[in-house]
């Protein structure tokens, strides 16, 4: 586990998300902040990490000199395989994702709205990275967590309604930023926790979407383990 004192916003998000990972599950971590999540995991949970390109049982990044060009993660970065890892082709890999075998996916986001819709694959007229596996992941995973910075360039990424094209009609389950943990439910977006040292008012001020606040909202407890 990393030291909390030196944690930057991205590490706060990664640490908080790591607490959502249940033992003996299959988990897919997206590129960017989600990739950081596994570094915060307590050992020996029996979790298997899958990458879209067909590795079931991703390990840590191998040491220099121990890489192999046939073993990479979904970002094309050298990786390793844990004991008991297996390799599947891309059709099988997305069959796992679409077929409900994936317990959890953690993805980055450009926007999430109060209905729980995620937008993360294009900014019309500006930048079109493409959806990669995101549409299948959000549609198919049993649980979807969006892990992203709360705002970009001073603009809230948590919005009343996505203005960017959405990734799926499926409602995500949890949104984790450095300022807040939020859950979209039938009647709106609930504020469940605030970031370390962050007040409810600060979250509300930084958030374009309306937040439903019930009772006392605790701060993230990043000292506990999953």
């Amino acid at each position: 586990m990393k030291d909390l004192v030196v944690m930057d916003p991205k590490e706060i998000i990664a640490r908080r998300v790591s607490l959502e990972i249940r033992p003996k599950t299959l988990v897919n971590l997206g590129i960017g902040i989600p990739t950081l999540v596994s570094d915060h995991l307590t050992e020996n949970l029996g979790v298997f990490f899958q990458s879209e390109n067909g590795v079931v049982g991703l390990g840590h990044r191998p040491a220099e000199g121990m890489t192999d060009r046939h073993l990479t993660d979904a970002g094309g970065t050298f990786t390793s395989a844990v004991p008991g890892a297996s390799i599947i082709d891309s059709a099988f890999s997305f069959g796992l994702i679409r077929g409900g075998h994936l317990d959890l996916t953690v993805l980055g986001g450009l926007q999430v709205d109060a209905q729980g819709h995620l937008a993360n694959w294009m900014i019309p007229g500006k930048f079109v990275p493409g959806m990669g596996g995101a549409m299948d992941l959000v549609t198919g995973a049993k649980k979807v967590i969006v892990a992203m910075l709360h705002s970009a360039g001073g603009v809230s990424k948590v919005v009343p309604e996505c203005t960017l094209p959405v990734t799926s009609q499926r409602r995500v389950d949890l949104i984790v930023t450095e300022l807040a943990v939020m859950a979209p439910l039938d009647d709106g977006l609930y504020l469940l926790e605030t970031g370390p040292g962050v007040s409810v008012d600060e979250v509300v001020a930084a958030t374009d979407a309306d937040l439903i606040i019930k009772g006392d909202v605790p701060q993230m407890d990043l000292s506990r383990t999953a």
């Binding site: 390109n53 990479t72 094309g76 059709a91 997305f94 679409r98 493409g130 549409m135 549609t139």
Partner: protein, 217 residues
């Protein structure tokens, strides 16, 4: 299966305007020799079906950079600025397909299915103009099969029957694309005698492979 051919013979088979499937995921599991040879040959107006645009010098990158590609069909182009630039200038047409839909459509094309019924893309831009079919109260997008004139496959080992194995994450789209093209050309890292690859280790039966690239060393 025919006898092993040279890189040049393979490139000569592929005409301008051909529709070419190219395996690989961020350039891993892509037949790099074939890509380089095609790029050097100055082919024009290719349509490439490949998961991602990788980077300018990896995966399908060199083909796009060399101006051989008219249309890209795949799921991700976010880390190749050359592709972004050519798309903005109109030189390159880009058709984005969700990755799971992409690979399953290719499989359908090779396995004689009329299309796939997937929940992915429902309620998004991807669904525009497509049929939505309701089955037992759930909605699915009808996506059509994808095929190509050529599939260029990167294999670990190959025998002279054309049986292929792949290695670790370099597997990815290879075994699926080998199903779905009129002509399948494999670029293996090694060619081994027939009988050396155990039947249970074969990932693509040789009967699917039309040509194998000779190793030059």
């Amino acid at each position: 299966m025919h006898l092993a051919i040279s890189m040049e013979e393979a490139v000569d088979m592929i005409p301008d305007g051909a529709r070419v499937m190219l395996s690989g995921f961020m350039g891993v599991g892509t037949p790099d020799g074939l890509v380089r040879a095609l790029a050097a040959s100055g082919k024009k107006d290719l349509t490439v079906l490949v998961n991602d645009a990788a980077r300018p010098h990896t995966g399908v990158g060199p083909l796009v950079t060399a101006g051989c590609v008219r249309k890209f069909i795949g799921s991700h182009i976010g880390v190749n600025p050359v592709v972004q630039e050519k798309m903005r200038s109109g030189e390159l047409e880009v058709e984005l397909v969700p990755q799971g839909t992409f690979v399953e459509r290719i499989r359908a094309g090779g396995m004689g299915l009329g299309g796939i019924l997937t929940p992915t893309g429902i309620g998004t831009l991807i669904a525009e103009g497509k049929d939505v079919i309701e089955i037992d109260g759930k909605q699915f997008l009808l996506e059509k099969p994808l095929r190509a004139d050529f599939a260029l496959i990167a294999a670990r080992s190959c025998d002279y029957v054309g049986n292929l194995t792949y290695m670790l994450s370099a597997t990815n789209f290879n075994p699926i694309m080998a199903l779905s093209a009129d002509v399948v050309i494999a670029e293996p890292e090694e060619i081994v005698p027939v009988g050396v690859i155990p039947p249970d280790a074969v990932k693509t039966p040789g009967i699917l492979v039309d040509h194998v690239i000779k190793r030059t060393v």
